[in-house]
């Protein structure tokens, strides 16, 4: 358990294990934290949605449930609509 390799300090590792598998997962996490903070809501508001999304499809990858919970929260708070998100969704990642 100890002595796990910490070969790349720039990556978020937790006892040698990557916390995020891709940058968008970190963005999804930060979006939920920032939004709850900005609107002065209890974290519970997001957590209940995450629980519901996980219960809906327990085998779905964790951060996909997270993304779905985030979307349901912003839509229910009337911050945006699914149609607006469709219009804003990028289809390609910018070249590195």
């Amino acid at each position: 358990m100890t002595g796990a390799p910490l070969d790349d300090a720039s990556l978020p590792r937790d006892n040698g294990e990557l916390v995020f598998e891709a940058p968008w997962q970190a963005r999804a996490l930060a979006l939920a934290v920032a939004l709850v903070d900005k609107l002065d809501l209890p974290w519970e508001v997001f957590r209940l949605r995450l629980m519901a999304e996980i219960a809906k499809d327990p085998q779905r990858p964790y951060y996909e449930s997270w993304g779905a919970a985030l979307e349901s929260m912003v839509v229910d708070l009337d911050l945006t609509t699914p149609a607006a998100l469709d219009a804003a969704a990028p289809t390609e990642r910018a070249p590195l």
């Binding site: 100890t2 970190a26 930060a30 995450l50 996980i54 219960a55 911050l79």
Partner: protein, 197 residues
């Protein structure tokens, strides 16, 4: 993973959706990109099991602190400067020669961010979440931790009112170690309860 830099990679649907949510919220001025960067940075550098390890080491060396920690986890952890989302309802449970505590969140992935950072992948997996309740002794054995038959396993299921942190037993032969040295031997897994030190 493509290494072709000439053609942009197609985004997975969830990745595109998260990017869309971000751009809409930024455009409306509800959140800003710098704030998001700061949060990611905070998770990457400030939060993690090194914080929980300091709490444990303090409790091992300061009996009065340990008492405060076990009676009001949130306040005692805040004394060391660790607080924030997912750290508001801290309950610290003590392992003893007769009791071993194991932490799980059966409904989602509740986890004490300020003291342990973000949960490892296995903590969020359906298999861990269900088996920790159903057959904790077998699960622990498979994870390399054999709990003697005469030791009771208490499974602590996180909830809206409680985020658990396990206070592991101080290993024998560590009497001469400083608080800082002790913190270095406390692992994340021991504070979740899937490992004994």
């Amino acid at each position: 993973m493509t290494t072709d830099h000439h053609h942009p990679a197609e985004l997975a649907p969830v990745e595109a959706r998260v990017a869309a949510i971000e751009s809409v919220l930024v455009e409306k001025g509800i959140i800003d990109t710098d704030a998001l960067d700061a949060i990611v940075q905070h998770f990457e550098t400030n939060l993690g099991p090194m914080n929980g390890a300091k709490v444990v080491a303090r409790a091992w060396t300061d009996p009065a602190y340990k008492e405060r920690l076990l009676s009001d986890g949130t306040a005692a952890i805040k004394e060391l400067g660790f607080e924030g989302p997912e750290g508001e309802y801290m309950v610290v449970v003590e392992n003893t020669p007769k009791v071993h505590n194991l932490v799980v969140c059966t409904l989602c992935s509740c986890y004490p961010w300020p003291t342990l950072g973000l949960p490892p992948k296995w903590y969020k997996a359906p298999a861990y979440r269900s088996r920790a309740i159903r057959e904790p002794r077998k699960l622990l054995a498979e994870m390399g931790t054999d709990i003697p038959a005469d030791v009771e396993i208490r499974v602590q299921d996180s909830s809206a009112e409680a985020r658990y942190l396990v206070l592991p037993m101080r290993p024998e032969g560590t009497d001469d170690m400083s608080e800082e040295q002790l913190a270095a031997i406390v692992t994340r897994d021991s504070m979740i309860g899937v490992q004994r030190l």
